[in-house]
Symmetry: C2
């Protein structure tokens, strides 16, 4: 079982380099065809690898060349063919309009093992908001 | 396997009545001792059933007697002893300051089977935000 945890931890860590390289194909490859996505911005729910590709392209397109990703506190719970994990991640960079971003988010991922390996069948990313003001808390630190 | 899916779907559905009844004990009972919580408001990460109890008490305390919960689109992926699920939920009610709330959120839950049954070991709830304005999108409909 610990081999699976190691493998899935590696799969999450691989995202750091792929985001830096803006490698949409490598990132999309981790997702199952009918993945259900709860993205941090824009919409309640999306479904399908195509939606994930579109989401990544929009994300990469909104940043200048310095987009970076840091990941910490990865925890994986793995069973036979089914697993989930959660972690915190920080997005850093300069948006095309010049805004500097350094923001911590949370992510939860659900995995299933298919014939050709483990893939993400569900991804939920978010930033909490202030219940009193309705503003997103982009300044939180873990 | 479908028995487990049915059982965990029931566990999620049970929350509706427990929230209406403000039954903190019944809700907290569903959580593992060391549950990791990514709540929709306030903080990036909390850990422990005590944090969940405190979160529920704050939530219930911020609403008048009409707090309601609706749940839809529950999907469960269950393996041997490990499962996860996701769903959309709507919170309705009147806050103590008189603000009327009707807001859709997303939730992802991770389950493990213990000797005395399945419990939630991870919960992630959120509302997406507008990437351009930084405001939380409380008006989205599924």
């Amino acid at each position: 079982m610990s081999d699976v945890v190691e493998h899935l931890t590696g799969l999450i860590r691989d995202r750091i380099a792929a985001v830096r390289a803006r490698d949409v194909e490598a990132l999309a490859e981790q997702f199952a065809e009918d993945v259900v996505i709860f993205d941090a911005v824009g919409r309640l729910r999306d479904q399908g690898r195509g939606a994930e590709v579109s989401r990544l392209e929009t994300w990469f397109g909104s940043y200048q060349d310095d987009l970076g990703l840091g990941i910490r506190d990865i925890e994986i719970v793995a069973g036979d063919g089914v697993a989930f994990g959660h972690y915190l991640f920080r997005v850093t960079g300069t948006m095309v309009d010049g805004t500097e971003v350094s923001m911590w988010l949370r992510a939860t991922v659900g995995f299933r093992e298919f014939e050709d390996g483990w893939r993400i069948v569900h991804e939920h990313s978010s930033v909490p908001f202030d219940g009193a003001t309705g503003e997103v808390l982009v300044g939180l630190e873990p």
